[in-house]
Each structure stands twice: as structure tokens, then as C-alpha cells.
């Protein structure tokens, strides 16, 4: 079983990212669970969302305390919340900066300027979908094809296409 935590702000699509990751896993005939941290914070406030992926039916309903991977949609959050909580093995951050500049204790730190990709590909600064591509590249937890299929199913038509492109772009960028 793999457990992933997303950090974002209300409105940035962390929950949607967690959901789409689950959808992608499902495309691969895996079981999944995706859920937000159930807060009442308003738009702009830090939020968390989670995904579990497993080859088997997932029975447990506890929250995720020890994520395998962490995805940070907005690097400004890193001063505000402990994004490394629970010792993830990999952390993927949306930022212009390099992993070194971030100076984290997590073993595998990967960075990507997903907002730029989003602006380029989708025309809006929603970094959540490209960050899924980045996660796929960094960890292989799902295949980028599954992500693209998932996003196209959720958003049929243009929007889905564009988001799929952003996922692909981010995937490739980090794979390099």
C-alpha cells in the first residue's frame, strides 16, 4: 500500500488531486481511497488531502500519519505547515527553486515549476494536475497514462485534454 499526502491551500485543488490520483490507481485496477483532511478553513487557508493506493481492498479508515510520498502544491506553505511530518520517503514541491535550495530533511526531494506548466498548458495557475504528473515521475506510484485517462474521464472535452497535457509535460520534465 502506498500513502500520499497533498498540501495546498483552499481553492488550489488538493482534494481534486487526491481524487484523480485515486482514479488513476483505479484505472490500473488497484484499490484506492482519497480524502481531505476534514477542516473548516476558508479559501486560502492551508489544507491537506490524502490518497491510499493498494493492490487489495483497503479496510482501514484511519487518517494517514506516515505518508510514503508528499506533494506540495504551493511552496509558500512550507513555512507555515510541517510538510515533512511523518517522514515521507519522497517529497515533490511546486516551486522555481531547486531541491537544494529548499533544504529539507527528506531523502528524495524533487521540485518542479508546476504553476508555469499549468499556465502554459491550461491557461490557469492550477498546479494540482501537473503536480500529479510530477509525482508519477518521481515515484512511479501510478503511470502517467492512467492519470491522463482519469483526468479525461473526469473532465471530458477540452479541459481534460489540457490537463492531460500538463500532466504529461510535468511528467516528462521531472523524468529528465
Amino acid at each position: 500500500m502506498k500513502q500520499i499526502r497533498f498540501h495546498g491551500r483552499g481553492g488550489q485543488g488538493a482534494v481534486t488531486a487526491a481524487e484523480i490520483l485515486g482514479l488513476a490507481a483505479s484505472e490500473e485496477k488497484k484499490w484506492c481511497q482519497a480524502f481531505p483532511f476534514f477542516g473548516v478553513e476558508r479559501r486560502g487557508a492551508p489544507v491537506k488531502a490524502f490518497t491510499r493506493i493498494s493492490d487489495e481492498y483497503i479496510k482501514t479508515r484511519q487518517q494517514i500519519y506516515k505518508p510514503d510520498y508528499v506533494v506540495v502544491l504551493d511552496s509558500t506553505l512550507m513555512d507555515v505547515v510541517d510538510t515533512e511530518e511523518g517522514n515521507p520517503s519522497t517529497i515533490v514541491v511546486n516551486t522555481k527553486r531547486t531541491p537544494e535550495e529548499l533544504d529539507l530533511s527528506t531523502g528524495d526531494v524533487q521540485t518542479i515549476h508546476a504553476t508555469k506548466i499549468a499556465l502554459d498548458e491550461i491557461g490557469k495557475p492550477f498546479a494540482n494536475t501537473p503536480m500529479l504528473g510530477a509525482l508519477a515521475a518521481a515515484t512511479g506510484v501510478v503511470k502517467p497514462e492512467s492519470l491522463k485517462k482519469a483526468i479525461k474521464e473526469k473532465y471530458p472535452g477540452k479541459i481534460g485534454e489540457k490537463n492531460a497535457n500538463a500532466i504529461q509535460k510535468a511528467y516528462e520534465e521531472l523524468k529528465k
Binding site: A18, E19, Q33, F35, F38, K59, R61
Partner: protein
């Protein structure tokens, strides 16, 4: 299989049951149900009338009106909303109106809190409504369909609460199989009641005033109907299993690795976490109560027969006992040779982790008398009631 949010999945399940009137009011965390149903109606996918009432009191009252008129009536609510309905809930069961409520369980004020526990529906346990608690979204989807069939069975004719844990289920996306609409229609007969309609050609009076004797007799009728519904809960569950290939224990309770000296007893989504925990140890089993009302006394007794130790985990408090409501219900039917512990857990959304369940099993023993404890935070120590030595 589709990955869907719990609440959405349930809404689609409701849609397949084709309710005539949905009289609904938003409240966290059941809000997505009225929202999704509104969207289905707005998109012409469901031909139901939505009454967007101004309060839950009117939500359930609208259901009463529709159900009394012989239509299939539905609502969804949580917490404060369910509490606000209290008076009408008693009336609806007394009038034998088979209304279905999806209760998305949430804690009660004060202080106000929007997260899950089961105080809301458990504190409605006297009122003659059937109550089924679901462990997963799939079960919620399936039980919603079963609920209509159980409620409307001519030997039941009782309202029912299909309970799912707020957020933990309602806001979690996971794969579910949504039954085919036509198959659901085959499974669920049309509702055509003989005791509740409002037909000018055939006038009847519903909800009369009763003197003591008929009142007491009608209460006994109600009680007998509630108790008798146990068989129908089971039967409908079995029929569903037959047709759709999914089952949940025997429909009333579900046993999991329940061949150990210690049994955990609980309801709802926490049972998933318990099962997962038990997968890694070999000294305890689980008896999950699925059907809480009627209370399947014989089934529970049998499942717990000969246990050394029973640990009840419950998400509610019956104030003045220092424990949950289920505790007395379980304890009163077990022999004294079985030690029964009660642990109040998960109040107001406090998470219960596998570590906590392990800790409980490890720290409690059948040597001592049964104890009452509280788990107030994930990873926390089990707390005693104040004053207990």
C-alpha cells in the same frame, strides 16, 4: 466500479430507487446528498420533486406529507438536523410511514463540531426507526437500496435510517459498484400502501388522537413491527446478495475472525480499521453490529457466546453512565463470565488509528472487571472516568 465520493455514490443510489419526493435541507456533512440530487433533477436524470425546505423540521414534515399521500419520500441529514427532527421522527414511526433517511453521522453541539461520531442517530434509538450502520461506501450504496425495500415491506412499514460516518465515508472517494438502475427497479417493488394514502375517493384520517388503551395498543403494534422487521432486514439483505452479489455478514451482524477469546464490538466505518488491525494479530476478533434497530439480541448473544472479553468501541456517550449507549445493551445480554469493557472513541471526529486499537487490546484484560474508558485523541492514553480509582 467507479471511484466516487461517498455522498455522491449514495445520491446515485437514491436516484436508482426513484423517490417521488425529496424534502431536504443542507447540513455538513450530508450536504452533498441534497446537492447531488438537486443536480440530478436539474439535469433531468431523476424525475423527483425536490422540496427545498427552510429547516429540517420541515424536511421531515414534507416527507411525512408525501409518504402519507402514498408516495416514496426521502431525505438526508446529520447531527443538529436530525436532532431538530426529533418530534416528527417519533410521529413518523407511530404513523408507520416508510420514509428513508440517509443519516451522515456527525457530533452534536455544544460545542459545535462538524465531524463524525454517532451521537446523533444513537440518541434517536428509542423512536421506532430502524437503523443500519455501514462500514464502507459500497455498503452505504447497497444499504440505501435495501432500506427502501425494508421500510416499505408490508410486514414492516417503518421509517429507516441508513447511517454512514460523516467525512470518513461521506467525503472519501473510493471505488464503488453502482447497481444497474433496471435491476434496482426489479429488486424494489413499487410502493403501493394500504394504510397511508390521501385519496378523496377513499378518505382516511391519519395521525389521530388516541385515548390510553388504543395508544398503548398502537405502541405495542409499533414495537412488534420494529422487532419483527429483523427478519425482513435479513431477508432483504439476502435477496440483495443473491441478485447483486454483495453481502454484509448476515445482514444484522458481521463477524470477522471472531473465533478468539476476545471480541471487539462496534458499528460503522471504524470496523474497517479494526479489521485491518486484526489482520496483524491473532488474539481478537470483531463482531460488527450492522442493524442496530431492531437490536439483534439473539444474534449478538450467539456471536459473543463464550467470550472471555468483549471490548465495545462506540462513538457516543449516554451521559450519566460514563460510557456509550451500546455498552448497557451488550452487557445486559452477556453472562457475567464475559468481561465487558467500554471505550468511548472518535467523538467529534477524533481519529482512531490502528495503533489505538492495538493499544486497547494490549492494555485491557479479562482479569479485571469490565472497565469504562475514553480515547480522546489519536495515540492518546485511555482515560478513566473522573472519580474512578
Amino acid at each position: 466500479m467507479e471511484v466516487k465520493q461517498g455522498a455522491q455514490a449514495i445520491a446515485h443510489s437514491v436516484k436508482k430507487c426513484k423517490p417521488d419526493v425529496c424534502s431536504m435541507y443542507p447540513i455538513t456533512p450530508s450536504t452533498e446528498l441534497p446537492e447531488e440530487i438537486a443536480q440530478l433533477v436539474a439535469d433531468g436524470e431523476l424525475d423527483a420533486t425536490i422540496i427545498r425546505v427552510e429547516s429540517e423540521f420541515s424536511a421531515i414534515s414534507g416527507c411525512v406529507g408525501a409518504s402519507a399521500a402514498g408516495s416514496r419520500a426521502y431525505t438526508a441529514t446529520s447531527s443538529q438536523g436530525l436532532a431538530l427532527m426529533t418530534e416528527v421522527l417519533f410521529a413518523a414511526s407511530g404513523m408507520r410511514l416508510p420514509i428513508v433517511i440517509n443519516v451522515v453521522n456527525r457530533a452534536l453541539s455544544a460545542p459545535i463540531n462538524i465531524w463524525n461520531d454517532q451521537q446523533d442517530s444513537i440518541s434517536q434509538r428509542d423512536n421506532g426507526w430502524l437503523q443500519i450502520y455501514c462500514e464502507s461506501n459500497q455498503e452505504a450504496v447497497d444499504t440505501t437500496i435495501q432500506s427502501f425495500k425494508i421500510a416499505e415491506d408490508e410486514d414492516v412499514l417503518l421509517p429507516i435510517m441508513c447511517c454512514t460516518d460523516g467525512y470518513i465515508l461521506s467525503h472519501t472517494y473510493e471505488p464503488v459498484e453502482l447497481p444497474d438502475e433496471e435491476e434496482v427497479q426489479e429488486f424494489l417493488p413499487e410502493y403501493d400502501p394500504d394504510h397511508a394514502y390521501l385519496d378523496p375517493e377513499n378518505p382516511m384520517t391519519q395521525g389521530p388522537f388516541a385515548y390510553p388503551k388504543p395508544y398503548a395498543a398502537l405502541r405495542k403494534d409499533l414495537s412488534d413491527a420494529v422487532n419483527g422487521s429483523k427478519e425482513i432486514v435479513k431477508r432483504v439483505h439476502d435477496e440483495f446478495a443473491e441478485k447483486f452479489g454483495r453481502s454484509y455478514g448476515n445482514g444484522l451482524i458481521e463477524e470477522y475472525k471472531n473465533d478468539k477469546d476476545t471480541a471487539l464490538v462496534s458499528m460503522g466505518s471504524i470496523c474497517g480499521t479494526i479489521k485491518s488491525t486484526l489482520d496483524n494479530r491473532n488474539d481478537a476478533g470483531l463482531m460488527r453490529i450492522r442493524c442496530y434497530r431492531p437490536f439483534p439480541e439473539e444474534e449478538i448473544k450467539k456471536a459473543l457466546e463464550g467470550k472471555d472479553q468483549v471490548i465495545v468501541l462506540e462513538k457516543n456517550v449516554s451521559m450519566g453512565h460514563g460510557s456509550g449507549a451500546l455498552y448497557n445493551e451488550i452487557k445486559s445480554i452477556l453472562p457475567r463470565s464475559t468481561t465487558v469493557h467500554d471505550i468511548v472513541v472518535g467523538l467529534g471526529g477524533t481519529d482512531i488509528a490502528e495503533e489505538d486499537i492495538n493499544n486497547m487490546i494490549d492494555s485491557l484484560s479479562n482479569k479485571e472487571n469490565g472497565v469504562k474508558r475514553w480515547l480522546l485523541e489519536k495515540g492518546g492514553k485511555l482515560q478513566k472516568n473522573r472519580g474512578e480509582k
